[in-house]
Symmetry: D2
Subunit: 413 residues, 4 copies
């Protein structure tokens, strides 16, 4: 029997998103998917960009919407895609981020025993196969690159996938950093498939350049903004401290689900159904609520960090092209011990720490962007003459940072 119901969802970025498939509808209604309403897309970036409070739920729907547009264009160009393949690739994109835990990338690996969000997304798909009728097995094989038609995977996950297009559009929209906006409609109109590989027509080359530059800008201006980095490293320190205290047997109040993950320290090899069930109960709320409770904890380190993050009294973070020299670190640590008498020397890494941030504008080694010339010649975008996406852009930029309380001497580096 055909699925008669269709649903239209308001979206501020694209206007309306249409759902017209029973399996898609069931996935969206599933508690594991509804949970994405409670996980913010950009973690703590909202402490710098107050508008950036959008969720993984919206982003997944947005990527789904762009995919439907891409499929329409490819079909207009005569590329045959079966109805089942269409539903499957839509399911794959809807679920590609479902495995994210609280605060997404900011806490990835720290809570879920070292598992990546892709690994957990895969576990969820395996679970949903049992519950929902529809081509979820095919969706999983597309997600896993095991489905023979490789372009379907590339639509979901490559350097020109609908995931990136949506997050650039959406993160630009919600942060107000309009410079990240890309010409997604023009790019989608230029997509094509040759030998089951996703390509873009040569005349799209300037739009692709713009897309890569927009992403580069969003990385350094937003995602790796020094205050955002500071907040996210503080959040990581809080979770690490809580886990350390739990390990020491100290009581650290939190929701039962979060408690479970704070206790499970070793990497998980084969998570069972119970593990997945508990993971699906975790969202940003558990962590925020815990931080609020921990503001009054007897451990002064946990309490101090929690209060600081909650009230946005963030560490100073300084970025540099070179690593911080050890003398500077030592001097800051000394000052820190004087300034915060409750600190033990062992706890210094919670208050003064260094690290690196890096990003690729374009990585020619990973699901690269292929340009199809009018003479049906296929080239990597970094090989096209006059292209901007040359070797310079293909080298990752790496920056070094040091982070410490603002109240320490401020003119340091």
């Amino acid at each position: 029997m055909a699925f008669r119901k269709h649903k239209i969802i308001n979206d501020p970025v694209y206007g309306f998103i249409r759902i017209d498939d029973a399996a898609i509808f069931q996935v969206i209604e599933h508690p594991a998917y509804q949970r994405l309403r409670r996980i913010q897309q950009m973690a703590l970036a909202q402490l710098v960009f107050p508008g950036a409070v959008h969720t993984r739920f919206q982003h997944s729907l947005g990527a789904y919407h762009l995919l439907t547009l891409a499929l329409q264009e490819l079909k207009n160009k005569g590329i045959s895609i079966s109805a089942e393949e269409q539903t499957a690739v839509k399911l794959a994109v809807l679920l590609h981020d479902a495995g994210h835990g609280p605060f997404s990338h900011a806490l990835e690996g720290l809570i879920a025993g070292g598992l990546s969000h892709e690994q957990i997304s895969r576990l969820m798909m395996q679970q949903l196969i049992k519950e929902i009728e529809g081509p979820l097995e095919m969706a999983l094989s597309i997600f896993d690159r095991s489905y023979p038609r490789h372009f379907l995977h590339q639509l979901v996950s490559s350097q020109l996938d609908v995931d990136r297009m949506d997050y650039l559009m959406r993160d630009s929209f919600y942060t107000g950093v309009a410079e990240g906006i890309i010409g997604y409609d023009r790019i989608l109109k230029m997509l094509t498939v040759e030998d089951d590989e996703l390509m873009v027509e040569e005349k799209a080359i300037y739009s692709i350049e713009k897309f890569i530059i927009a992403r580069r800008l969003m990385y350094w201006q937003v995602y790796l903004h020094k205050t955002v980095l500071s907040a996210e490293t503080m959040l990581q320190k809080i979770i690490l401290r809580a886990r350390e205290l739990v390990g020491r047997g100290v009581s650290v109040p939190s929701s039962p689900a979060l408690q479970f993950f704070l206790k499970t320290s070793s990497p998980v090899d084969l998570p069972d159904a119970e593990w997945l069930h508990l993971f699906c109960q975790l969202d940003d709320m558990d962590v925020w609520m815990a931080i609020k409770l921990w503001c009054g904890h007897t451990d002064p380190v946990l309490a101090w960090l929690s209060r600081a993050l909650l009230n946005r009294q963030l560490f100073r973070l300084e970025l540099s092209p070179h690593p911080t020299d050890q003398q500077t670190v030592a001097r800051l640590q000394e000052q820190c011990l004087r300034k915060f008498p409750f600190l033990h020397e062992d706890d210094l890494p919670y208050f003064v720490y260094t690290g690196t941030a890096s990003s690729y504008a374009y990585n020619p080694a990973d699901e690269n962007i292929r340009i199809l010339s009018s003479q049906h010649r296929v080239r990597d975008i970094s090989d096209v003459e006059n292209s901007l996406i040359n070797h310079t852009v293909s080298i990752p930029i790496k920056k070094f940072y040091i982070c410490y309380p603002k109240s320490l001497t401020e003119a340091m580096l």
Copy 2:
């Protein structure tokens, strides 16, 4: 000493918001204000409009931004406003919503012992007067209508205030219901002051009409959308049930702050510093976390409602111009008892209930909109000839609803 620091905040609605006053800066940095980052502006509207996850924090900053534009226009027109008055009215608008609790209007009165958010905003201002240097006393008198220059109050709170302008702009922006967008810049350019009363120039009349119609549209299409209403009434039932259980001595786990307010049932007359301190610790997180915990509660009513709201399995809500007849209610209640064997008859009002929703497009009795003609004649907008804002629009629209589980017979009314 002059305040040299100025801060620019990215805002997706207006681009950039500039903070250039020390007192404003201190208020924004205060934990009581930072808390607004964790209270969503539109409560549960995000269950229907997934983009509408913006916060009271952004809204207050937005209203502040519009106010600075309005003040600039008025000064350009030769209206004298002292530097102190400017800072004071900006403080008033920044803090006008600070007294909102979790889920704003949806739970107003239910948690804070019957106090309105304006009453609590006032308490907060009184508290901040002690902590922050700046014209907070004057801000309070502007907020309270006791400051002699009435137009300053009207900028903050009237039928054409910057609060309404920002929430219409922002809620339209985030829901994607672009039809709610208003010509705020044109309206601001038409503001003027005559005898210390706020007016708009006559040529702005069509823009004002558009503003009132936009608000009317947002009410019925968004704020009072039947699914939004359903979710918000369910949330209220959950809090009422929790409070009832607490009253009966049943253990209902929650954060300490929420626990305090669930226990305090009688209306508060003179809240003390402790009351305010605890209130300032409450935000959406406390309630979401409680609902998540209550999904497994031993009380089947609390548990059922909590799971339903968390997973967006909402009651059906039907709107009608007439009250539901008692027979229909009785029939639904009967079905309900059969369908949910755990329900006692006393608990029926948690599962089948009626209510009303109403809104004014324009209320000529409350801080009305005055039009100043080129001959300096002042009239209420509803008295201007050819105006659309006539008596029809000035009558509140009232609709009746009934709400019940979807699994009951669906073709009812």
Copy 3:
């Protein structure tokens, strides 16, 4: 053989417009249609709103685009529309404005011997039937209301047609009067057909209100803006003067096509092929070029008016709810004779004149807007309870104006 070529046109209002039908393509490429590139949509409104320089060409394409969206929605709702009907209604909308002459409405009737633009559009369709293969006869019958399925006509021409939707969107976009923007996508999604009549679903009622109010605003804020009216009446006076001089046998240089129409003063009953051929050679350029030439004409009235319009030295125009009293007119005329010694008394109506401007927000007597309730009840929008579109809005607003040189005494009325 199927039409394989499809063409995508960039449009700043909607993004991309797709042409995928051979007959549509041929019409767009036809010189009579390309001519619309040289006729501005808003005539002289650009003298007040410098951005409003868009053309009839863009507007017709825009209306065509909205029509394709509307047809898609109706087909999604199960309304059967044959492929031929689709092409025909698209042709009808593309050509609905093709009969506009230079400066569109501002000179309508003045140049083309009293024929309306609809009458000329009809003549053009009759001509194109001979040249282009495609359902142009059906397009003409839809345009003429003689095709049995009335809703197709209503899509092209009614109070909720794609013509109005596009011109509101486009004129708002290009003038920068963003308040005229309407929720066209929401309205299109709510369209339906019952008994071959176009309807909107009841839940769209607030969007329809917004649409009508937006149109009302655009009329009084833009289309009938007093400076725009002034410029357009001056343009009419220029053409009338040129025609008068031609009638008197005075040489008035202009393009051959314009010369023909200046000479043909009596109303045309049956325009022949030659008439239509010459009309199709007219566009804004002929009139602008003539005005530029006439700046140096020996007739001082024609020369003065031409220089004034070209250099934007416009008459003052005053709007009032009441007609100007005769005394004021007489006094202004007297002053005018003194100020401009070259003026004969007979020429006074070129320098001091009165007139009226009026507009309907909603006219229930003309292709009205029908609302379909969920119980399949059909009502006019002005009959729906709580509707804003009541009797007040259904009365046309009429304003009176007087126009005269700014150099005359300025404080008159």
Copy 4:
């Protein structure tokens, strides 16, 4: 006496533009400036991008608006700029493009005897100095780089000037090629001045990259779009042919002003007042009207080209990284002679011709973009480490084209 009048102009790109200076106001009202209303900014690009019909008038106002924002930012940063300097630099930017003739760049040099538009703008300023009270002499010295404070010139004319910012914003807006949109507000906020040179703060580097890439995209996607190039070269051929015929003594009807310039073939060294007066009477209308008249000219070359351009029957233009080989050209010319029997061999260059198009993304040799680091170190943007604006981007891209009638064999290159 202070200038009390201020004027607000609606602009679709920026909302409102405010004029608040008497000298600025007089320049805008001057016929030589009003004339810019009749010169389209993008010449024939509208034949490909129908929305791109905006004018030099709007662009000049837009650049003026961005300049006022830039001056405000610089003053906020403590850079002292006198009131006179402010007015002067505003006048300079308003008039920077006033010397453009019909179809701007497309006919630059062809009509005005080899003078560039900057040279003519300078002549106009010299003329206006005599007519308008205000710092026009200073404006001219800023325009001419002779004013000592170099940053004022750089605001008006450099690789990061308000002219470029406005035309990118505006051309993107009107073409609908949204990818050309730049973050002008962010860039303006990052401008600063050091030793009277314009700089940008280091953190703006990603915005500058985006700006340069946007310009690169607009060049190849819009300004040098092959169909736009084709139309513009056809227009040039028409003017060249008309001039040739006039030279031969053949009568070529046109407006008196255009006639004058068609007759004046030799480069002008010292244009006199009469020359400038006639130039100021020229605009797009003269050329369009002439083309319309020439459609029926006895010279078949002029008539054929005029009809083709008017009705958008454009030549095919093929772009290539390499010059077209002479054999291909010869073969096409042969075909051309067979296809168009009216063509003499001498006339072949009007129907088959080759040429080059080139553009710089960034030219480090010309008023370059300087980055100011937080340590007050000044570097060219192409020298900043990790910068994208490296040597690759600083080499101009050059493409070769051949142009010929579509009816010739189409599969040529």
